[in-house]
Amino acid sequence: MTHFPGKLLLSATRWMVRIAPLILFGLVWHLVCSAQLVNKDFLPSPLAVAAAFVDLFSSGEIATNLTITLFRAAVGLLLGAGCGVWIGVMMARSRHFREYVTPIVGGTYSLPKSALIPLFALWFGIGNLTAIAAVFLACLLPMVVNTYHGVLTTPKVLVWSAEALGTRERELWPRVFIRNALPDIFTGLRIALGFSFVLAISAEMIASTNGIGKLIFMYGENGTYDYMFAAICCVVIVAFFSDRALLVVTRRVLVWHESGAFERERRRP
């Protein structure tokens, strides 16, 4: 118990050190604005953005639109991740499947998925379906590529050991291959999570009547940049915390993995 206040103080200082760059950034921003180095209409001061943020919050505008955006991102991400893992496993499992899918994956991997949003809008209309389809496609490919890689790099001796210990061929998939691919699957998931925000918001800017993307676009068009910035800040905060949450889950699930040890070593003071 005697350690407790000391520990609290230590974590408080560490926290301060972490947010110091952010505070510095805000300060510079504020100085640039108050010194009138740039036109106030084009770059609102941080205080004006904060005021807009509070206004958006209290009016409920953020909450409503954020829920919509998160819904689209989450559905697209879950579907994309699920299908991605399945396709990745199938590619590793069947030569025919791999031969059919590889050119498609290779061809679409580097394509910016946002380029397809106008087409999706044409097919699926304005709203949920277009945004979800865009998120789905963007999340799919990193999951496919990482899952495939993870399964493929399963050491032969692990498979042989499992077989010699009585694992049947069908059981090898859940017990060895997919387990071995988990670190890669989580790497893919982290990339996909980032994409899910990007694509949900891009799709809303182009083809939606609501959502945070629409909000940003609308305030941008109107020239109310303080509100636009407030909406962007909101996205940054949500994206940051969901990434952290995923990292926490990853660390829980992959306690056995070398990377977990590395993190712990580094975090020791």
Partner: protein
């Protein structure tokens, strides 16, 4: 009953060709070897001579031409009658020490109470009590290899296939592990096929040593090791009979290593 004259493993005319970028490579050519029940046989030879390949064929992991017969029936794939220990430990990194040892028992649907008894006993045998809940990455090389051996012994296979099991360990740990293996073998009298490049290890552990030729591998010389193992390791290793057989095997293996060197 243990019948020392009954063939346990019969390898008949086994050949294996690997596909490589520079065309097919013949790893084994018409290899023959019979291992009797309860026998401890080592295979030594230059690296790349196909001795591990032979072990994988016996394990049923690789298909090859020729026949491998265990207890009178041909091997068609891996089986729980043959326990394997690899040089790289091959523990499941996502399972704890306890769960790694339990893995094979679960696959064979051993009753839960029985399972825990076996795991607890083996954890004690390998001297890792207190480490049951550690993951492999938290263990030293020697500890990992102990777990790998325990995992294999848990299923009580009649045959142990050991692929340079102590090759990655430091010299001191290796000797300790050899003593443990010898003790386990003397207790259980399993049939053991050991692949190693360490001649002293082979002499110390086995009844019989087969020297393999450079690629394509074939067994070209055999040595029967008849040593009195009742004395201590120190006494045995410096004794005249031990060194005379060790020197003979070493010279034979060295001839093959030099021949292999010329092939390069």
């Amino acid at each position: 009953m243990l019948d020392l004259d009954r063939p346990k493993i019969e390898i008949r005319g086994v050949s294996k060709t690997y596909a490589s970028e520079r065309g097919p490579v013949l790893a084994l050519r018409g290899t023959d070897l019979t291992v009797n029940e309860g026998e401890f046989v080592s295979i030594v030879g230059p690296s790349g001579c196909g001795k591990s390949t032979l072990l994988y064929v016996v394990g049923g992991f690789l298909a090859a031409d020729g026949d491998v017969i265990i207890d009178g029936s041909a091997v068609k794939g891996p089986g729980t009658d043959r326990g394997v220990v690899f040089q790289e430990y091959a523990l499941f990194p996502w399972l704890t020490v306890h769960d790694n040892i339990r893995y094979g028992l679960e696959r064979q649907r051993v009753a839960a109470s029985e399972r825990d008894k076996i795991v607890d006993r083996l954890v004690n045998v390998i001297g890792l009590s207190g480490f049951e809940n550690r993951y492999p990455r938290e263990l030293s090389g020697g500890m990992k290899q102990r777990v790998a051996i325990a995992r294999t012994l848990a299923c009580d296979p009649a045959i142990l296939l050991l692929d340079e099991p102590f090759g990655a360990l430091d010299a001191q740990t290796r000797e300790i592990m050899q003593d443990e293996l010898l003790r386990i073998w003397l207790e259980t009298r399993k049939t053991v096929l050991l692949v190693t490049h360490d001649v002293t290890e082979a002499v110390y552990l086995s009844n019989r040593i087969c020297v393999m030729s450079a690629r394509p591998g074939q067994i070209i010389e055999e040595f029967v090791v008849a040593l009195d193992r009742s004395c201590s390791r120190e006494e045995l290793v410096i004794s005249e009979p031990f060194n005379s057989i060790r020197n003979k095997v070493w010279l034979s293996a060295r001839r093959q290593a030099l021949a292999a060197g010329k092939q390069e």
